[in-house]
């Protein structure tokens, strides 16, 4: 217990980085995932293929590889630099990798939602003369989003837990890396481990409850 109290400030700072990563990745991946799903549904075959290939490749690649490649390959070798400060740079590299990865899952969740929208909705939209973009924007996606609020919540929870893999992307300031550092000096400490786990649960459980509540509230009655 003493160890947890002693190292709590460091671990707290690390955990804050996980929270920041989660926030950035949540916003970017939701936007990118929506763009991807629009690509996969579009009348243009090239965009459909591009979207499908992206989702299938990214979804089947381990996150560890995505992040390690972003850091060592894209950033170090190919010179993709967000900031001159190494720590800030690696934060954005990890945020980028995590967003690109999560976007594929967001796209899959949304696509599953689109599949639950009854055919009549799209047919009616076409019948009153809406274009593809209009029917997607005003008819299909609003209903699709409502049905997949809970699955999207699971994707976000998974993403929050995935922020711990930031270590693989060379970002060594997050809670997992800090915990490893502390363990290097103290050895495995059960209080510290439980403390961090509880912190993550405090972050993921509200997301779960909120999206669960939201999905019941927004459910489309059919």
């Amino acid at each position: 217990m003493d160890e947890l109290i002693k190292y709590a400030p460091d671990l707290g700072i690390g955990f804050l980085e996980n929270v920041k990563l989660s926030l950035v990745a949540a916003v970017v991946s939701l936007i990118l995932g929506t763009v991807l799903v629009a690509m996969r549904l579009s009348p243009t075959p090239v965009l459909r293929v591009a979207g499908t290939v992206y989702v299938n490749v990214v979804r089947n690649t381990p996150l560890t590889l995505v992040l390690a490649f972003s850091a060592l390959g894209l950033s170090d070798q190919l010179g993709l630099v967000f900031s001159q400060t190494p720590l800030t740079n690696s934060f954005w590299v990890v945020a980028m990798g995590l967003s690109l990865y999560t976007a594929a899952f967001v796209c899959e969740a949304l696509r599953a939602g689109v599949n639950t929208v009854p055919m009549g909705q799209a047919e009616a939209a076409r019948a009153i003369g809406l274009t593809f973009m209009q029917s997607l924007r005003m008819i299909i996606l609003p209903q699709a989003f409502r049905t997949v609020v809970a699955p999207l919540g699971s994707v976000m929870i998974a993403m929050i837990k995935n922020t711990t893999v930031a270590t693989a992307g060379g970002f060594l300031a997050d809670a997992a890396a800090t915990m490893k550092e502390v363990f290097d000096t103290t050895g495995a400490s059960i209080p510290i481990f439980l403390g961090i786990v509880l912190a993550f649960m405090a972050l993921t459980m509200p997301v779960g409850f909120f999206t669960g509540w939201l999905s019941r509230r927004l459910a489309v009655v059919r």
Binding site: A112, M119, S154
Partner: protein, 305 residues
């Protein structure tokens, strides 16, 4: 709803517009790919020299194949253990005795909520303290994967048994079977069929997550391919990433196809009255497939089925 319902069969103007869009998107996608190509080329990533190692048998023999074996070993052991863990705890959660049901529920919920990497770190540091010195990287990866994926599988088992229509167990009890017999002879055989796709997609998640071993220096494909190999052949980092990326994607897609095939088959077959179940916390609605390091989370209510 099929995707084609979103837009009409195009008329003359629509066809022109679609062709224009196709041209524009070809240009945009092409430009993006060309940009990547230029970026790679500017850093000399297409020089034959750095791709050369992948044409030599020694590279595969010394680095990639041993790494692949390490990955598959960890995945295979963890898969067997996770299935056993999932079966035991899934059935324990269905028990009629509260003293079995509640502890099992707590274990499952807790291990599902812990970020997997933290769990692996903890085991990695705890093991030497408890068991004495040695290399515990393999054990940490396997036990971590077992606890996490086993907990997700326990939920799958529970969902699978619940998916069998009530009349089945009622009928079994009516002909005088015991609890044990009802479970063993009536519920489980039908539940397993319904669970199969969800189990296979969870195994994809498990296989992908073995890559976390990279962080604690377990000798897996990512480690030999992305850390050791580029250190030996200087400059081959990006080719290495591409090669092992292809291996991972091929492995996982093969397993995913198996899951899809199993699902289609179980939907056709009439051996079970239960509808296919979805892994808890999975992003899919109705279609079973796991989702990544990341499979589950604290799903507040039962997944959409």
């Amino acid at each position: 709803m099929s995707t084609t319902v979103l837009f009409d069969a195009p008329g003359p103007r629509g066809r022109v517009r679609n062709s224009a869009l196709t041209v524009v998107s070809v240009i945009v996608v092409g430009a993006a790919l060309y940009g990547v190509y230029l970026g790679f080329d500017a850093k000399d990533q297409f020089e034959g020299k750095i791709w050369q190692p992948f044409l030599m048998w020694e590279t595969w023999d010394f680095y990639i194949i041993p790494g692949l074996i390490g990955t598959l070993q960890a995945a295979a052991v963890a898969a067997v253990l996770a299935l056993a863990f999932g079966a035991i705890f899934g059935l324990a959660r269905l028990s009629d005795h509260a003293w079995i049901r509640i502890p099992a529920g707590v274990v499952v919920e807790v291990f599902r909520a812990i970020p997997l990497l933290l769990l692996i770190f903890f085991i990695f540091y705890l093991a030497p303290a408890v068991l004495g010195g040695g290399d515990y990287a393999f054990m940490a990866v396997v036990v971590g994967l077992m606890l996490y994926n086993g907990s997700v599988l326990a939920e799958v088992v529970r969902a699978g048994v619940h998916a069998v229509p009530k009349g089945q167990s009622e009928a079994a009890y009516a002909v005088g079977m015991r609890k044990n017999q009802v479970m063993r002879l009536v519920l489980l055989p039908q539940a397993v069929t319904a669970m199969m796709p969800a189990i296979v997609s969870q195994l994809v998640v498990l296989l992908k997550d073995t890559a976390l071993g990279y962080i604690i220096a377990y000798v897996d494909l990512l480690n030999t391919g992305f850390k050791i190999l580029p250190a030996r052949f200087f400059g081959s980092l990006i080719p290495a990433a591409i090669v092992i990326g292809i291996i991972y994607v091929a492995l996982n897609m093969a397993l995913s196809f198996l899951a899809t095939w199993l699902e289609r088959r179980s939907r056709r077959s009439r051996k079970t009255a239960a509808a296919p179940v979805v892994a808890p916390g999975s992003a899919e609605v109705g279609v079973a497939a796991g989702q990544g390091t990341e499979g589950g989370g604290v799903a507040p209510d039962r997944p959409v089925e």
